[in-house]
């Protein structure tokens, strides 16, 4: 007879940035009988995952489940929608591309056997069309929230949300307080080991805070995890110098841009409260080029050293976000990764004591998640012009496989725990100007099939444009509640 595990009595979340607060809310909701305490720490300027206010589709669904309402984010945290990422110059001067989000179907909603043909979404050539209806909407500045109905012209559309970080954090703080999350103050002055490779208590200005489970949301320093005896970090590639510039003003647009400039890559995050520009500096870039690309003097510069914890769960300490995997903000995947790590923890949530097997399963999957995100980011550097600017880089066997299949066949294989669908990755690689081959299957489909598909797509775009109001008008409607 199977027995229920004992509930954790207390969970301590170290780090009270947006990630720590969201994790605390999630744990408090999952474990309403347990105490959840957030421990404030000094914000880490390198904790980019949370300092850049943008998620992808997964975050929207997580927010929804946790009661972080999108309309509230629109009303109180300056939230706006990104339907596509526009890429320019990655394939060479003048090259442009557009990568939409979409065809995102939560695989857990489908039973295994519903996936016909032995694999469904893995086949980039025959999968559902990537939601390029998103591009039509972004071009026209129109928006309507997809209602989830399969017959809607927006059925394949997904989006990422961007928001004002301090206001977002305030919302999460209010939610945490409403849920009864406790807050502890006082700097972490040390830890009391539990004798099993984990932590029995934190010392907050000398006072112990005991818990059964600890979350490290302290950013890339991994303040808690890095103190444990089993800690090891896997470094990944070259350090990146990142210049940051924030400009005020209202930027209502449904697209964000990533442009390859002579100074390096420039990624812009638009928003209703201003524009954040990030410049990943090319090794040889001079100051003048940098200022020209950024459109002004940088307001800050950071040096980012990509890498991940070999194991992000040690003993009873689970690291999330930058503490577990630290990477470049290209494509806004870092917070998405952090939130998927949180979801994984909720799936494998331990009882009062941690079972080494579930810890191993978490570490196995969290490592896959981090590695696949690293692959997607490294994919940017495989674009022709990026290679010329940053130099050729080593790629993982998985990325090498994907790049080769894409180049020769236009196919992206399925990998476990990848951050998006193969066809979304294919759309991104195409937008980055990577040459795309044509497989025999696509050749065989012929012009007629292509023409029919294009016609169907055009009709769907027209229907979407008819249904969707101009984005500012749509926003205004939500703001007026």
């Amino acid at each position: 007879m199977s027995q229920p595990r004992a509930l954790p009595r207390r969970v301590a979340v170290v780090g009270d940035g947006p990630l720590g607060l969201l994790a605390a809310c999630a744990l408090r909701q999952a474990l309403p009988l347990s105490e959840v305490t957030v421990v404030a720490t000094a914000p880490d300027p390198l904790a980019l995952a949370e300092r850049i206010g943008s998620g992808l589709g997964f975050t929207n669904r997580l927010h929804d489940r946790l009661g972080v309402e999108e309309d509230l984010l629109i009303r109180h945290a300056g939230a706006s929608h990104r339907l596509v990422m526009r890429y320019a110059g990655w394939g060479g001067a003048g090259q442009q591309g557009c990568a939409p989000y979409g065809a995102a179907i939560d695989p857990r909603l489908r039973t295994a056997f519903a996936r016909e043909w032995g694999g469904g979404p893995r086949n980039a050539a025959t999968g559902a069309p990537v939601g390029s209806v998103g591009e039509a909407l972004a071009d026209d500045g129109r928006f309507l929230r997809p209602d989830g109905r399969a017959d809607s012209p927006l059925a394949d559309v997904d989006y990422g949300l961007r928001w004002n970080v301090p206001a977002y954090r305030d919302l999460l703080l209010a939610l945490a307080q409403r849920l009864g999350v406790r807050q502890a103050s006082g700097a972490v002055s040390g830890i009391r080991p539990d004798g099993q490779g984990g932590v029995a208590a934190l010392l907050l200005a000398g006072e112990p805070l005991a818990a059964d489970l600890f979350l490290d949301c302290t950013g890339p320093q991994a303040a808690l995890l890095a103190q444990l005896p089993g800690y090891a970090r896997i470094d990944r590639g070259d350090a990146l110098r990142l210049a940051v510039r924030q400009e005020p003003g209202v930027r209502v647009t449904l697209a964000d841009r990533a442009v390859l400039t002579p100074a390096g890559w420039l990624q812009e995050l638009a928003g209703r409260d201003g524009m954040l520009s990030l410049l990943g500096r090319a090794p040889a870039a001079g100051e003048a080029e940098l200022v020209a690309a950024l459109g002004g003097e940088p307001q800050g510069e950071l040096t980012l050293k990509p890498g991940r914890a070999a194991e992000s769960w040690l003993g009873n300490v689970v690291a999330l976000g930058d503490a577990a995997a630290h990477g470049e903000p290209l494509g806004f995947f870092q917070l998405d990764l952090a939130h998927r790590q949180l979801e994984l923890l909720l799936e494998l949530l331990p009882g009062r004591s941690v079972d080494p097997r579930e810890r191993a399963e978490f570490n196995r999957r969290a490592a896959l998640m981090a590695d696949r995100v690293a692959d997607v980011i490294a994919g940017h550097y495989a674009a022709p012009a990026a290679q010329a600017l940053f130099g050729a880089r080593e790629v993982s066997p998985e990325l090498a496989l994907a790049l080769d299949q894409f180049a020769r066949r236009g196919r992206v294989p399925f990998f476990e725990e990848m951050p998006f669908l193969p066809q979304e990755w294919a759309a991104q690689l195409q937008a980055l100007g990577l040459p795309q081959g044509l497989g025999a299957l696509a050749r065989a489909e012929g012009d007629e099939a292509g023409r029919q598909m294009a016609e169907r797509h055009a009709r769907q775009c027209e229907a979407a444009l008819r249904a969707a109001p101009p984005y500012p008008a749509w926003l205004q409607q939500v703001l007026q509640g």
């Binding site: 007879m1 199977s2 027995q3 229920p4 595990r5 004992a6 509930l7 954790p8 909701q29 999952a30 474990l31 309403p32 009988l33 489940r65 695989p107 857990r108 909603l109 039973t111 295994a112 056997f113 519903a114 016909e116 043909w117 032995g118 694999g119 893995r122 086949n123 050539a125 979801e343 909720l346 799936e347 494998l348 949530l349 009882g351 009062r352 079972d355 097997r357 579930e358 191993a360 399963e361 196995r364 999957r365 496989l401 080769d404 299949q405 020769r408 066949r409 196919r411 294989p413 399925f414 476990e416 044509l438 497989g439 025999a440 299957l441 050749r443 065989a444 012929g446």
Partner: protein
């Protein structure tokens, strides 16, 4: 592009069984202009015709090829299949249905089975299958295609039970109608390019030669090309899956209703199938020859069959395992030439379909095969085989049976490391190592683990958090909804009979 790569690839399929005609038809249909297909078969060589039962993926296959479902069912005397009823596997006298579908729904991020385990501990839960529409409909012998929305009515899938000896010929006719060239003849020699080692042509007994760029070996266990000519190594898995024979024997129906599921009944030296088709019931004893003689197996299946015997028992011989590389040089093995996993979960036709699907996806452009596509094909095929293998081993290993040498062996054997880790995580935490690619997912593992009495030691703490009465009420509500849904379905036979287009000429 060079001239050579512009011309269509000449595909030669060797073998006119199920895998051969599936491969030929799929390539001819899906790669027009890219490939020409010639299939070499000999009327002197019989086909094994394995796989009387299928998995839901077969529907995607026939649909993608543009085959009408009713015509396909009519030609193969097919009935609908909602799952497999496993009897006496975990313990004699116990049974469960492994459905094409799920059990309950997760609540607050915690999978359903944790709540079920908690309620079961408190004596407040019914059998797991009561919370699965697929299981409940199967046991009530009712059928209707699943709903296309996301309601309870959509939580199952279906496949077919059909006459495998008729499926190959049906695909042959279809293949011939879309331009597959059929060549009758027996291969006496395989010619290879001395420089590259590639197969260049097949020499037939009457002296004709069949040349090609890409050869698909569907010659069954003989594996004339992949095994015979290329000597690709066979990885033997019979130490984990020791059954190596089947004594098959059809009999007449004994009752009016037709079960929309396959029965798999554990036996002292293996298990036996019972597969109801439109016009007969297929029976077969799958056994390990190390533990039982062929004569004894034939006697057993004759005694077990309920209806009038329609043919004498026929013994098939096989061996579980696979080629180290299913695609070597310019030879791709599909079907039994590539590997075999015993029929316990009806995976034979799926394995052929899976291989030809990947082949179509990675099909060479022009006559030159890129070794990277070959490696990718082999990676995908290996992954599928390995995951199915572990799932099959589970059925034997997760048992308390100690009534025969056979069951003692499989109960106590060392299982693959990949399965061992999975079983330990389940045993201690009630959780499953997750993968999203391959064939059998969490719901299938849970069906077998719980169905065979392998309950974990502990389950998720959150499942015990809500008041028991509240959870029990939710379970009752779900069970009632499942029962109401089942009650609204027609009987399997009635549904089948609704359309004459899917009925064979002389159904039972």
């Amino acid at each position: 592009m060079s001239e050579q790569s512009d011309r269509a690839v000449r595909v030669v399929v060797l073998g006119g069984g199920t895998a051969g005609w599936m491969s030929a038809a799929a390539i001819a249909r899906l790669l027009p202009g890219q490939a020409t297909v010639e299939l070499v078969e000999s009327e002197d060589i019989g086909i094994v015709g394995v796989g009387e039962a299928t998995l839901p993926h077969i529907r995607g296959f026939v649909e993608r090829l543009g085959i009408d479902e009713a015509a396909f069912m009519k030609a193969t005397h097919a009935t609908y299949k909602l799952g497999i009823d496993f009897r006496d596997f975990g313990r004699i006298g116990e049974s469960y249905v492994h459905p094409f579908g799920s059990f309950g729904e997760e609540v607050a991020g915690v999978p359903f089975h944790h709540y079920w385990l908690e309620m079961q501990r408190q004596g407040l839960a019914g059998p797991l299958g009561a919370y699965s529409l697929g299981v409940s409909a199967a046991l009530a012998r009712r059928f209707r295609p699943p709903a296309a929305d996301s309601s309870l009515g959509s939580t199952y899938g279906y496949a077919y039970q059909f006459d495998a000896t008729l499926f190959g010929p049906f695909m042959r006719e279809f293949g011939l109608s879309i331009g597959v060239r059929r060549t009758e003849g027996r291969v006496v020699e395989v010619r290879r390019d001395p420089a590259s080692g590639d197969v260049t042509r097949l020499l037939l007994a009457d002296g004709r030669e069949v040349a090609g760029d890409l050869f698909i070996d569907c010659s069954g266990f003989r594996a004339l090309l992949i095994g015979g000519a290329l000597e690709e190594e066979w990885e033997d898995w019979s130490h984990w899956l020791p059954v190596d024979r089947a004594a098959a024997m059809p009999c007449a129906h004994v009752e009016k209703e037709i079960e929309p599921y396959t029965r798999a009944i554990a036996m002292p030296a293996g298990w036996r199938w019972r597969i109801p088709l439109q016009h007969r019931i297929g029976n077969g004893y799958v056994f390990a020859s190390a533990f039982l003689s062929e004569d004894e197996a034939c006697e057993t299946i004759r005694a077990a069959a309920e209806g009038a015997v329609l043919a004498e028992p026929r013994v098939l011989r096989f061996r579980s395992g696979r080629r180290r590389k299913s695609w070597n040089r310019n030879v791709v093995a599909v079907g039994l030439a590539s590997g075999f996993l015993e029929p316990l979960e009806s995976t034979s036709i799926y394995l052929a379909q899976m291989a030809v699907t990947y082949l179509v996806e990675l099909f060479p452009s022009g006559a030159t095969i890129d070794p990277r596509d070959r490696a990718e094909f082999n990676r995908l095929v290996d992954m599928e085989y390995d995951r199915i293998r572990d799932f099959l081993i589970l059925h034997y290993h997760a048992t308390t049976r100690s009534d025969s040498e056979f069951w003692n062996h499989v109960r106590t054997m060392q299982v693959p490391g990949s399965l061992q880790g999975k079983l330990e995580l389940w045993r201690e935490c009630g959780r499953l190592e997750k993968y999203s690619d391959g064939l059998f997912y969490d719901a299938s593992w849970i069906a077998v683990l719980i169905g065979q009495g392998k309950l974990p030691r502990r389950h998720d703490a959150r499942a015990a958090m809500a008041p028991a009465r509240q959870v029990a009420a939710a379970l009752e509500e779900l069970q009632a909804a499942v029962q109401a849904e089942v009650a609204s379905m027609p009987s399997h036979r009635d549904y089948l009979m609704r359309s004459a287009a899917r009925l064979a000429e002389h159904p039972a």
